[in-house]
């Protein structure tokens, strides 16, 4: 009593392979061109205004980013947070004030607040926590005079750590909001 089972065993996309070039002739980027436009100029001489600096790029670079925002080292564009917290610690109040003053004085300036978390917990909930931190900085800036339309928030959750590692020394460097001025 044999049953005939016939299966069209073509894996997803295999049907289109009939006319495919063999290997790596022209590999176009996936739809929607997801490549980042170049990487930041490591010398950071203020010339790389076309590239949006990645958070990691600015660590330890020392030079000021681009020409926008108050003068100061890269560290002055990052606010760190305690675990599971989104309140701004007193030691970062100065950063908030300096940037609020800059924004007040430059009404055309636009600032993006990028919220991040450490890797612990679920990824999607961490997106929420990162957003909560970015919002805390946003509110603090607005309280000190920045206007709403100068500020946008984005959360990367745990997806863009500044430092890799499974311990507190790495985690403490990842729980952060980065202040990124539009060029």
């Amino acid at each position: 009593m044999k049953k005939i089972v016939s299966i069209a065993c073509l894996f997803a996309g295999a049907a289109l392979l009939a006319g495919c070039p063999k290997k790596n002739t022209t590999v176009e980027p996936p739809i929607a061109g997801s490549q980042v436009a170049g990487s930041a100029n490591p010398n950071g001489e203020g010339a790389s205004t076309s590239a949006t600096p990645l958070g990691g790029d600015s660590n330890g670079m020392g030079g000021a980013q681009g020409g926008a925002g108050p003068a100061g080292p890269a560290e002055s564009r990052i606010i760190y947070f305690d675990f599971d917290k989104s309140d701004i610690k007193p030691e970062f109040a100065g950063i908030v004030t300096a940037n609020a003053q800059y924004l007040t004085a430059h009404p055309g300036a636009k600032l993006k607040l990028e919220g991040n978390t450490d890797e612990r917990g679920t990824r999607e909930y961490n997106i929420g926590l990162g957003e909560r931190r970015a919002q805390a900085v946003r509110r603090a800036l607005m309280l000190q005079g920045a206007s709403e339309n100068q500020l946008t928030t984005v959360s990367f959750g745990a997806e863009r750590p500044a430092v890799e590692g499974d311990d507190e020394s790495a985690w403490s460097k990842n729980r952060r909001v980065e202040l990124v001025y539009a060029p």
């Binding site: 392979l17 290997k23 739809i31 997801s34 890797e119 679920t122 997106i127 984005v154 890799e164």
Partner: protein, 432 residues
């Protein structure tokens, strides 16, 4: 615009064909105590050329990987029958086998094979299965998975889920120049295909109920947006890119809606329902806490989700119709998140925090709501059920690297999927 899209789709399909090598090694770190002993005899191949793809190995590996079978090592097989008439049942019984699978592979023409296989009960000598499968060369592994599914089902009375796929995110390179890939592979990790790649993060793959589409979150526009991609062609549609957060997509059981997380200007995250045909958006939750990680009930009438409205994240359930109030489900501990419903709705899997460690737990939905913690890692997250409910795949960390792991839904079987390169995370098991 259409021409570019078509050309890009074609080369994406070519991209799909690359990387044929195995990306994972699966280790069963803990098998079931009363595993069923079975011998899967190498299938007789008509000539030596056919022996290069050994469907019997796929069958044997699948059964062993389930943790519920103890498969006989082929080097211990003195005889290799390929039909029932050739089986010396007493010998196989003496070697400890309860069941035996025999078969042969016959070429039928250029790039076409027929596999005949049979399953016998060694004790009763009764033939339990006898089938003929036709496959091309590219489909021989799939044929092996389908045979394993039939054997699994026949012996255990549970539908097999070997002929299924997993989607996951692979991260290569180191900061700040990471490359992210969304990959779909067979459930054993073989045959990985790159569905999408980016220099910006990719997250939250979610299968449509028909297994033809993947929704996911991409940061390629420098903010998290939700895409739905048709796997056969690579065509995709950006379905949500509102300012702020667009996150955590989940297809409704009829495939027509997406539950997802959006944020208001003030950063308030809530769960919304998006009609994929009309683009109509309905708000489902509305409170100042973080509401996210939606999961549909099987009848499409309720949503499970994570909310920290009570302080820390807990799991709630709410009906999709206006006026229904969310009901809290988890009460043990300060952190319970990322709900996933078992296919038969008997169980809810989620991430719980225990003594600082994040672990996969399951709650019994039929009884008193007992919670059992299934895993023992420090960073176990992202649970996803196999479509037969027997196994849960999840993300973990091993020696500082992101890895995938599996646990049976009762915790008795534990497995690790060790990737050859980079980090892997965010697994999602396909439907049947």
């Amino acid at each position: 615009m259409n021409k570019t899209l078509l050309a890009a789709a074609a080369s994406l399909a070519c991209l799909l064909s690359q990387s044929g090598r195995a990306e994972f090694v699966v280790e069963v770190t803990r098998g079931q105590d009363n595993a069923v002993p079975i011998a899967v005899v190498p299938f007789l191949a008509a000539d030596s050329a056919d022996a290069s793809i050994d469907a019997a190995t796929v069958v044997s590996s699948d059964l062993a990987r389930s943790g519920r079978f103890k498969t006989m090592d082929r080097k211990d097989m003195v005889e290799q029958p390929h039909v029932g008439a050739g089986i010396g049942f007493d010998d196989w019984r003496r070697l400890g086998n309860d069941y035996i699978v025999v078969g042969q592979m016959l070429p039928q023409g250029p790039d076409r094979y027929t596999i005949n296989f049979e399953l016998y009960n060694v004790l009763t000598r009764q033939r339990l299965l006898g089938y003929q499968i036709s496959a091309n060369r590219a489909g021989l592994r799939l044929a092996g998975h389908q045979i394993a599914d039939m054997v699994f089902d026949k012996i255990l009375g549970i539908r097999g889920a070997f002929a299924t796929r997993i989607a996951y995110v692979s991260v290569l390179g180191s900061l700040p120049h990471r490359n992210y890939r969304l990959i779909v592979a067979d459930s054993d990790g073989e045959n990985p295909h790159i569905v999408m790649q980016s220099n910006e993060p990719l997250m939250s793959p979610a299968w449509s109920p028909d297994g033809q589409n993947l929704a996911y979150v991409s940061f390629e526009d420098r903010l998290p947006s939700v895409y739905v991609q048709y796997l056969k062609t690579g065509e995709r549609r950006r379905v949500s890119a509102k300012a702020g957060v667009n996150q955590a997509p989940a297809f409704s059981p009829d495939g027509k809606k997406l539950a997802l997380t959006l944020s208001t200007r003030d950063g308030n995250l809530d769960v919304y329902l998006l009609d994929l045909t009309t683009n109509e958006l309905t708000r489902l939750t509305d409170d100042p806490g973080i509401d996210t990680e939606p999961e549909w009930s099987r009848d499409g009438q309720s949503i499970y989700f994570t909310s920290d409205r009570a302080g820390g994240p807990q799991i709630y359930r709410v009906g999709i119709h206006p006026g229904d109030h969310p009901r809290r489900l988890t009460f043990q501990g300060n952190y319970n998140a990322r709900p996933r419903l078992s296919p038969d709705e008997s169980q809810l899997a989620f991430v719980t925090q225990q003594d600082g460690a994040y672990r996969i737990a399951v709650m019994d939905l039929n009884g008193r709501g007992d919670v059992q913690i299934l895993t023992k890692g420090q960073f176990d997250v992202s649970p996803s059920y196999a479509p037969n409910g027997a196994m849960i795949i999840y993300a973990s960390r091993d020696h500082g690297r992101g890895v995938l792991a599996m646990t049976s839904s009762d915790g008795r079987v534990q497995e690790k999927l060790v990737s050859s390169e980079g980090e892997v995370q965010e697994p999602a098991w396909s439907p049947f």
